[in-house]
Symmetry: C2
Subunit: 417 residues, 2 copies
């Protein structure tokens, strides 16, 4: 089945809102093995919608539409699709009952416009809306082998309707099982990862392997199509093993989500606690750890010591070290990590100190120089990182990369514990 996603709405076209619907639907379709071929956005304009629909159905057999199902005069999606499929509109009792139920639960008055929402093309399967008044619908044209799925625009209404009603409907039609795994790699560039895997990526059609770069990390997605989940997993296993062999410790997990999620999971597994002492990252390391629900089991304390006196007074970094070597030094990073570990009575202390820029750099200690430290019973070290790429406005990037190195060091310490 080849699908297109067609989002209707002038507010999307003009950029007043970001189109999260297309990404949501595409991901859900990929998960059930439906190939998305194309995405498009058109404004609230019946003629252009009609033209786009004709193009879409010339290439695809499934078009998923969002938006334009509201009660007002510029909501035209249903009528346009009905016309293209050669269907009349008719009053649908099931859809009307659903709308009535929405109003029963609210203090708002139902209007004549809302009654209009209960008119659907002849033969349509209505989709109930748990979070709004506009019903969705599925319309099939078996002779021409084309299916239109119409969904409301607001994500809160669209998402549950799609996953609870449309996905089961499509699954029954397709009978295929597509399974994906994500391999998370830190510390290698995308071009390097790709050059190592180039031949495999070119040759292999099932499973497939695709790299995605995001700030300092590479995510490799392996996808297999098979008769069952078990068979798909069997096909992917040697590929995942091969990637792990190739990239060794740089692979920090499979299907783990993020460095912080991997760290929290490892700490939970081992019953350990970590603590953070941050200078240049300013709280970003603790922010990322506490992003993970359940972090409170493994994380009690983070200190953002942005000034030397706080490094001394709260973390116990020695005055002499700060005087002789400066705040941005290997020794300060080591003492910060040890200091916060002691203060928090944690198993692992992790620290960052460096120059995020744009000012404050010198020849000896340029912008982007960051020391990342870790202190624990079996593993204590300081890493010197040079994180500037010479970009403009790279302060946030340097801070983010430094926080990733800190999370990675803490993860290594947790694994060695």
């Amino acid at each position: 089945m080849r699908a297109e996603i067609l989002c209707v709405g002038t507010e999307l076209l003009l950029g007043d809102i970001v189109n999260t619907n297309a990404a949501y639907i595409a991901k859900e379709l990929a998960a059930i093995g439906v190939n998305v071929y194309h995405q498009a956005v058109v404004g609230d304009n019946a003629q252009r919608l009609r033209e786009q629909l004709e193009r879409s159905f010339s290439q695809c057999d499934l078009v998923v539409l969002t938006g334009g199902l509201g009660p007002t005069y510029d909501d035209l999606t249903k009528e346009t699709v009905a016309e293209l499929f050669g269907r009349e509109m008719e009053f649908n009792q099931e859809a009307y009952d659903g709308i009535l139920r929405r109003f029963l639960h609210s203090d708002r008055q139902m209007t004549e416009n809302n009654r209009k929402q209960a008119y659907l093309p002849v033969g349509a399967v209505p989709l109930q809306n748990q979070n709004g008044t506009a019903p969705g619908l599925i319309l099939e044209d078996e002779r021409e082998h084309r299916t239109a799925v119409l969904l409301p625009g607001p994500p809160r209404e669209m998402e549950p309707m799609f996953s609870n009603q449309v996905v089961p409907y499509l699954k029954e039609k397709t009978h295929s099982t597509l399974v994906s795994h994500s391999i998370h790699i830190f510390g290698l560039g995308e071009s390097y990862v790709e050059s190592c895997l180039h031949d495999f990526m070119e040759e292999s059609r099932n499973p497939t392997l695709a790299p995605y770069a995001k700030e300092g990390e590479v995510l490799l997605r392996v996808t297999a199509s098979a008769g069952s989940r078990e068979e798909a997993d069997r096909m992917m296993e040697p590929v995942i093993e091969r990637v792990k062999e190739l990239f060794g410790d740089n692979v920090y997990g499979v299907d783990i989500g993020s460095l912080q999620a991997a760290l929290v999971a490892e700490l939970q597994k081992k019953g350990l606690k970590a603590a953070t002492a941050e200078s240049c990252t300013g709280g970003l390391v603790s922010k990322r750890i506490t992003e993970v629900a359940g972090a409170s089991q493994v994380f009690d304390c983070g200190i953002c010591s942005y000034a030397n006196q706080i490094k001394e007074r709260v973390l116990g970094v020695s005055h002499e070290t700060l005087e002789a070597l400066g705040a941005v030094s290997r020794e300060t990073a080591a003492q910060m990590a040890a200091g916060v570990r002691k203060l928090a009575q944690a198993d692992i202390g992790v620290s960052t100190t460096g120059i995020a820029g744009p000012d404050g750099g010198t020849d000896e200690k340029p912008v982007g120089l960051v020391y990342v430290g870790v202190d624990s019973e079996n593993y204590s070290t300081v890493l010197e990182c040079r994180l500037s790429r010479g970009y403009r406005d790279e302060r946030e990037l340097i801070r983010y990369l430094a926080s990733s190195h800190a999370l990675r060091l803490a993860l290594t310490a947790a694994r060695k514990a």
Copy 2:
């Protein structure tokens, strides 16, 4: 000029990332008076890209493309556009110098792949990439009246390239002097702001007023078109004054960028220091303050006290308060703010404690309940916030909104000091 936005990338098509580029470009084009007619997304596939480009140019004279400019074999945008325009690819020294500069500043090795990035279609105007290796380009075909703008996919690279290089280029083509100001509003909903300004927005064509909602804030963009910058500013002044009158203290600044930038600027002006004590926000408040370059002049210390014992031991919150009222309470927030102010010897202490979810909520203290406190000589208070909207996965939203309330309270305290 009629424009289409065409985003290239399998990761967009499959929903692995949300397409923020289309919204960004659409909004920037609208601001300089260019109408966006259509948006589309295609995968990394030369043939489908070619087909879409032909359709796009049959309806529009400007196509803005993002993605597919990377160094790898599946990055095909440049070649496909060149073919459509009937141009050869040639080595471009200016583009190559830009790429070289990127590598000079980093410890990464340049590869043969990167050299490929310096090949542009004959006659293209190269666009420098301040934040990555892939140069962008503008290609005009004067005979056929069509222009293609090619931009890299990562927003960090695309956005400054578009606003600093493409916008001036298009402005010159369209001959307008457009000046904009941004009015920053916190604490009012977008629909409320819009309903207050509805008549003005409907009637006024120059200057125009457009609201943009983003996580708890509303940004009002005022734009005037005039013969000179001074004249445009004169036209906008009464509008800005009117908005300030209407929304009073909820307007926290004009052209100030963000709550954290407004706070750091106010603290610098007054020679004050702030300190943070965070529980549910986990370091996000200090992370946002230290995002602002120069924050080290006004911020020494942030404590993330995620466990009760750290609230007691480091911040001096009383054991009795924690026992009797719990960590999520007005009293705990007040003591955290006072405690960190004392510990850091700061002028202003600010605190957060609450339930970010998804677990940990009760009937009495539901997910989304957050107390935000501030302590300073002239202004000390605690705000009770209910930040849940009942959405799925709203942990990060609750944390972000709580951090915004904290920054806002600190800003109020700094203004009263």
